[in-house]
Symmetry: C2
Subunit: 560 residues, 2 copies
Amino acid sequence: MLQTRIIPPAQNAHAYPLLIKSLLLSGSRYEKTREIVYRDKLRYSYATFNERVARLANVLGAAGVKAGDTVAVMDWDSHRYLECMFAIPMIGAVLHTINIRLSAEQILYTMNHAEDRFVLVNAEFVPLYQGIAAQLTTVQRTLLLTDGEAQDADLPELVGEYESLLAQASPHYDFPDFDENSVATTFYTTGTTGNPKGVYFSHRQLVLHTLALASTIGALDSIRLMGTDDVYMPITPMFHVHAWGVPYVATMLGVKQVYPGRYDPELLVELWKREKVTFSHCVPTILQMVLNARAAKGVDFAGWKIIIGGSALTRALYDTAKSRGIQLTAAYGMSETCPLISCAHLNEELRAGNEDERITYRIKAGVPVPLIEAALVDGDGRFLPADGESQGELVLRAPWLTQGYFNEPEKSEELWEGGWMHTGDVATVDGMGVIDIRDRIKDVIKTGGEWISSLTLEDLISRDPAVREVAVVGVPDPQWGERPFALIVVHEGHVLDARTVKDHLKPFVEQGHINKWAIPSQIGLVTDIPKTSVGKLDKKRIRLDIATWQAAGSEFLSTL
Amino acid sequence: MLQTRIIPPAQNAHAYPLLIKSLLLSGSRYEKTREIVYRDKLRYSYATFNERVARLANVLGAAGVKAGDTVAVMDWDSHRYLECMFAIPMIGAVLHTINIRLSAEQILYTMNHAEDRFVLVNAEFVPLYQGIAAQLTTVQRTLLLTDGEAQDADLPELVGEYESLLAQASPHYDFPDFDENSVATTFYTTGTTGNPKGVYFSHRQLVLHTLALASTIGALDSIRLMGTDDVYMPITPMFHVHAWGVPYVATMLGVKQVYPGRYDPELLVELWKREKVTFSHCVPTILQMVLNARAAKGVDFAGWKIIIGGSALTRALYDTAKSRGIQLTAAYGMSETCPLISCAHLNEELRAGNEDERITYRIKAGVPVPLIEAALVDGDGRFLPADGESQGELVLRAPWLTQGYFNEPEKSEELWEGGWMHTGDVATVDGMGVIDIRDRIKDVIKTGGEWISSLTLEDLISRDPAVREVAVVGVPDPQWGERPFALIVVHEGHVLDARTVKDHLKPFVEQGHINKWAIPSQIGLVTDIPKTSVGKLDKKRIRLDIATWQAAGSEFLSTL
């Protein structure tokens, strides 16, 4: 280590720890009249929000929660969840955001593995909770979350109902200082194999992520994606990487926030209209559902800025959204990365260029945001050039990456092999530093010695106007190793078969975008494509389904 | 300390240090074609900038600079200074930005006190340097900075000229990682008594300041003060708190930057026109000089957003600037605070109110920016309420405050008395959290048992159309303890005396803004008001001058 002049810890006594409570010192204090809205159920001001965070801290303390305890939340997106995102870490406890789309068995696993001591349960999930309660090994007490209907529920060791407990609690709490490396949040990410893995983030990491995200969406794009006057509504679950960390940014800035509960597309459109939402973020699937909602028919969504992440943003979706008035920007990240890594804003060069190229860059993964170091490595850990051609695994160094998987030393070591965090994504990086995600390492299709990106194929196939949704996976083939297979949902009133897909793809082969082996020789026509609990294409499940259908010679398969 | 769940250092192995080099990972890499401009002398792209930072690191290494060494710069604002702000700390050395407006004696003091080992000297300052060279106790080598004219100078242990050394150096440098608490920069602040005091900031502090400042100017105001498409020109010297840290933000975002060298108002206007500048920051005095420049005559400055700090922003200057098309926003900070503390953006409530109130809030010190904790204390260190009435010393806790004065343990302890950094400013804080600076503690005028704010008086007197500039100080009075004295520069073609000043102030007494004791019974009419090296009213000097004039019964004194 270099012999720099380090401020000695004794002299550094006034170094200020980076704590989540500090995010409440600016906008959320100043914008006292701005609103936080929960569906059509509740709306209150930031002045009330600040009081409620203190009330919740008092409620938790009275219930026996101590610093270091893990407190789990099972709720849809709500003002309550936002309050928990602050109050729980601010008393030194760890917030476990439970993925309520997992199976009961997986939820049980994550709760025991995370060593949850307290659980806040939405009334809707009481039956689920009752089903696993007997097998929970660490939970001591529960709290009930309702939208006002019930005050009681058959929950073991129930402390009481959230709203009535808050109403009785003091609106004052002197939040303590502690080590900024204290764990603030944890949640579980589901791989395609094995048990869910717990990632975790410290106060320091979340504060830094909040500042970098605010700088990115505030200042780095030609349009300001979110500033003080915007109205923010997440359409990415709060249990999933803290709704991408945006609620922390919105609260720090004092922006109006709208929490939609469960993601019913009709309700989302209604909330968008009524609350004049201007900024959201979501995965492609839910945006498609919103645009297809009955309530969205004929609606001009002008002024709505949306960040798309989680899955690749296709040109088709970009164009559709644009025709409806929505400005999309792609961003990239994952559970392990808190999640922000890169954002597809355009530089001066691109903005001066033509429209088509601009869109091409708006839908890529984008460039690293402040403080993110990204590189490509090959299978042996050798660094690859940023030439736009070399494909390798994207690896990262940054201040807000999970330090490992909770209680999983081997998987943690694998994640951080060589001192860089391995994303599991195959990408290229071009001379401008723009990341283009080609595929998940395990989803790359290996056919006849060539590597084909399932994402590229999905993008190209989705440009066929008949295609509403598509998933491409590799299926085993005795001659070629693997062959691409496309699972397609067709737009109403359109027809499609393996032949028309081939005809659609041929020009792309001729233009050199893909090689001819990439054309699927078999497709499946379905009404619905399996998704994971966070709305991504469930390729593991799709592969299994295809194997079953192929064995059965199912009639919705179309072969060249 | 609370027993939180802390990530153990061993598991926290991938925690990423906050280093200045990380600020070069985003915008400055992506915006390759954007320009950095030095007057009419030089312009180059960010691609070149990145190479030049590496070249400079190689030049410094070859010259013998090692991590931990202090490297001083004596230059006007330039691309070179920007390069030094990155390259010097990035190799683990400490950048000492020399206040070239100090006297030679004071400069000598600061250089020996800071233990400067290497000095980069602008050709203009060679005579000054030669005058002190023999008394410099720690300097080993010098580098010459020129605008291209000379390659050599009579400097002791001269390594060479900056541009030619850079041209010969490699454009590659592998900047190392090190402890984020390493000191990155230092500079000296002049009090009214005693020697200049050295403040210092670590890499961590500067990175955090950069992110919070970017969030503030990018997202917290109803207008985006600086975003990717703005053109930035500082009008606050780079030797003074790193030009308020904005060059770090501009570089992180990849914004076009314009460095004006010496602050000649005519040149500033020319640069503003030619480079299409949209964002600047300065003290009130220099803005007034710019507006009064010959080149500014009849110019519509529409689209120019300026942050005003250093001294109070008066209503008169706000109105003048507005009539010329300039949007002013006040901000508050000081050398000890890196400097950003608060910014006068408007919340929803104020924006819905009337124009007059909005302006009143645009010219106050504003509300704390993200991560800043501010409070008021009385003389005994007791906290005072934020009621808009109680006046106390503003004290701070934040992640980017100097940890003390270099090698001044007693003054450092005083600065941090009670665990809060003492600003030396008397302020009120209202129910919205808005800070209103009333005075420097030592400039408050104590008359007949009342405290009168010299700043308030200056603001009210400056509203008289005849007044071009004004400074108010307390002068000793046998009967009242102190009496306010106003030193005034009158606009050309106007006349003014103690009687007209009294008539102008009377309505403010009647409206309760000030009490009747606040009306100065004597004023002085001058053509120029003494300023400190950073452009602030030099009240220490003014008090001395007044004493001399009063003793001599000078004719430019006007008495009631």
